[in-house]
């Protein structure tokens, strides 16, 4: 059962990822990314991390994707020109991608992490639920938590400054 769910979610995630890079219209790319994100949330649930899965659906598939859809609607999805600055870029890039995948896979599978071939240890029922994450975040990782809040504030201010409609003074 778990294997079936894993392969379904993996096919969804991979298909969504390929859809993002294959679609001509950016709007369809965003829709493919939403499929990818939902499949990834299912994979997180299979790894018994409920909070990360919920955050993935709410934050990514909800908020961030709505932002993308707004910007795509504002800018408009123009087609890309066929001009290539590097000859054969369209064929070299997949080769590089395959080489990167082979390298990563070899590096992981030949590592001496013995637990890689297992399902992981048995964990108690509270593993990865919001209570456990919240306790870790507010006790052990309080400083990164506060730093990320400052980062979010800076990003919001930066986006307003970048996209504001003021005249250029030069």
């Amino acid at each position: 059962m778990e294997a079936v769910l894993f392969f379904l979610a993996a096919i969804g995630a991979l298909g969504g990822a390929l859809g993002v890079i294959a679609m001509r219209n950016p709007f369809y790319s965003v829709l493919a990314l939403i499929v990818h994100l939902f499949s990834l949330a299912a994979l997180f649930l299979l790894l018994t991390s409920a909070f990360v899965a919920a955050a993935q659906v709410v934050v990514y598939a909800g908020a961030v994707m709505v932002l993308y859809v707004f910007v795509v609607a504002y800018v408009g999805g123009g087609g890309e020109s066929a001009w290539e600055p590097i000859p054969g870029q369209r064929f070299l890039a997949p080769l590089l991608g395959i080489a990167l995948f082979v390298e990563l896979a070899v590096a992981v599978l030949s590592s001496s992490l013995l637990a890689l071939g297992t399902d992981g240890p048995d964990v108690n029922a509270g593993f990865g639920n919001p209570a456990a994450i919240g306790r870790l975040l507010l006790e052990k990782f309080l400083l990164p938590f506060e730093a990320s809040s400052i980062l979010l504030l800076l990003a919001a201010v930066g986006a307003i400054v970048l996209a504001s409609n003021r005249r250029q003074t030069s």
């Binding site: 990822a17 990818h36 955050a55 504002y74 890039a93 599978l109 593993f127």
Partner: protein, 99 residues
């Protein structure tokens, strides 16, 4: 399922994202491909967290999500700014900073 499967899937998704960045020229799609790569990293983090049986990797994943949201906000702000100045939305035409 073995943890290996998740890690290999994560490597595959990362390679797909990198391939997309190399192929596509629209800055919006390049941002989407960056999301793909960050999510692949997230999947590896959560899988390793499950492998060790320790929730700390999930905190990493949550922080990566925060950073990805910041990156999206700034990137989309840049795209809107480029569009407002009537510059072409194509990373090959925007080459003023090229050395």
């Amino acid at each position: 399922m073995n943890i290996e499967w998740y890690i290999v899937l994560s490597a595959l998704l990362f390679a797909t994202g990198a391939m997309g960045i190399l192929i596509r020229r629209s800055p919006m799609v390049i941002l989407l491909c960056l999301e793909l790569m960050l999510n692949a990293g997230n999947l590896a983090l959560v899988a390793f967290s499950r492998m060790v049986g320790n929730g700390q990797g999930q905190i990493f994943a949550v922080i990566v999500m925060v950073v990805a949201a910041c990156e999206v906000v700034v990137g989309l702000g840049l795209i809107v700014a480029i569009f407002r100045r009537r510059l072409p939305l194509n990373v090959d035409d925007l080459r003023e900073l090229r050395g």
